[in-house]
């Protein structure tokens, strides 16, 4: 700041040709590129989803109540961002600070809940067998009756004493000869409608990962196993999509939080020097935050419900 006075042009004043201050045009151009980035991933998702064979796309593996709650958390943070900006426009810096603290809390809550969801997925396994389950095994291991047209040859649930990223090879190398599985009640080979019917009939809560643990462990010889994977990207196209989309989204949430934290903390000196420019900084970062919220509004139904 000891340099000869240098000003960034159009931080507050309107540029004739664009009709906006520069920050806003810059942010919108960036958001346009973001739309194309997420648009590409969304269209890839649509392609893979429509192309999936019936029964191959998992249903009910994500926790809907938690996802819905996270949606509300993010929506609330968008509101507090919008209101903090209007607070600045009315010159009420205190109110702005309080609202932005709520925003930061919401953003951190969102990330915390998301990482809880991730960790639950990392500890949940699917075990594929060499041959379809026998009639006697179905009720216990796959949670539904035998359907000759749709033989099920995998079990989902918790596996005792296996880390998050174990593969068949790593288990063999470790000298494991048998797995103890605590199967889930529902198998994703059931369609969403079938699962819903079943839940209605049994008056059960929607699938939660904890359910698997309630079931008694069933020993499975490793020689029967053809593949094993936790719910990590390598598990399936669905989880590859899920982690790519939600992971990229979570990075955006982190970026937005860092920007807001900077503006609220060390950057707040600008409020005393140039309040209009400061208000604009909050507005432009808010635009980014609303965009992140917007992406989640589409991600939630697409990943959790369809």
């Amino acid at each position: 700041m000891n340099q000869p006075h240098m000003t960034v042009p159009y931080t507050t004043e309107i540029r004739e040709d664009t009709g906006f201050y520069n920050g806003k045009v810059g942010m919108w151009l960036f958001l346009a590129s973001e739309v194309m980035l997420f648009g590409a991933l969304f269209s890839a998702y649509v392609f893979l989803r429509i192309g999936a064979r019936a029964g191959d796309w998992p249903h009910g593996l994500l926790n809907i109540p938690i996802g819905a709650f996270n949606t509300l958390v993010l929506i609330t943070s968008s509101l507090t961002v919008a209101l903090s900006w209007t607070s600045l426009k009315m010159g009420n810096f205190r109110r702005y600070q309080r609202l932005q603290l709520v925003t930061l809390a919401c953003g951190l809550a969102f990330l915390g809940i998301k990482s809880y969801e991730y960790s639950v997925k990392f500890n949940h396994y699917e075990v594929w067998l060499n041959a379809p389950l026998t009639a006697q095994e179905y009720p216990q291991l796959a949670g539904h009756a035998v359907d000759a047209d749709d033989p099920v040859n995998s079990i989902i649930g918790h596996v005792e004493g296996v880390g998050s990223f174990a593969t068949l090879d790593s288990l063999k190398e470790a000298g494991v000869s048998s797995l103890t599985i605590h199967p889930d009640k529902f198998h994703y080979r059931l369609s969403a409608a079938e699962q819903a019917e079943r839940r209605k009939a049994e008056r059960l809560q929607p699938h939660t990962e904890a359910e698997g643990a309630e079931h008694a462990g069933v020993p499975i010889d490793l020689s029967r196993v053809s593949r094993i994977s936790a719910f990590v990207p390598r598990h399936s196209t669905f989880f590859a999509n899920y982690f790519t989309l939600t992971g990229l989204h979570a990075l955006h949430v982190i970026g937005g939080l860092l920007a807001f934290a900077f503006i609220l903390g060390p950057g707040s000196r600008m409020w005393r020097v140039d309040p209009v420019r400061y208000t604009n900084a909050v507005e432009v970062t808010g635009l980014f935050w609303h965009f992140v919220d917007l992406v989640w509004i589409f991600l939630f139904p697409i990943l959790y419900l369809l």
């Binding site: 507050t12 269209s43 010159g91 140039d274 419900l305």
Partner: protein, 137 residues
Amino acid sequence: MSDATVSGAASTTSAPPEGAAHVHHPAPAAAMDAHHIQHVQREQKKFLAVYGVLVVGTVLTVAMYYVHFELMWQTVAVALLIAAVKGTFVAAVFMHLWHGERDIYRILAYTGIVVAGLFILTIASTFSVPGAGLYLR
């Protein structure tokens, strides 16, 4: 948001007059303030209303999962419709696209064309995948 209202913030703060250097339309301070604050408060009400819409939309989306339609494509259509309505409200009100920011449409129009192209090409290409599209039946 018009620059006039943003500039108004400068006159309502105890900040040094540097901020005032950017005010384009100096108005009698008192008259400007009352009008300006009224305007901002109206905007806050709009934000709260949109928040209500978003919460209701989220509840509806989740409720839909428990109701379930006969055909899969109906479920998909309704879920995406609710998401589109929510998204439109966020873009129109939280991101001020409805009022005042229409010049941004020029940027967004090009983006929209590219994204629409992406989706059309992608979806069109599924016709060359054997057995594709079964999901929606």
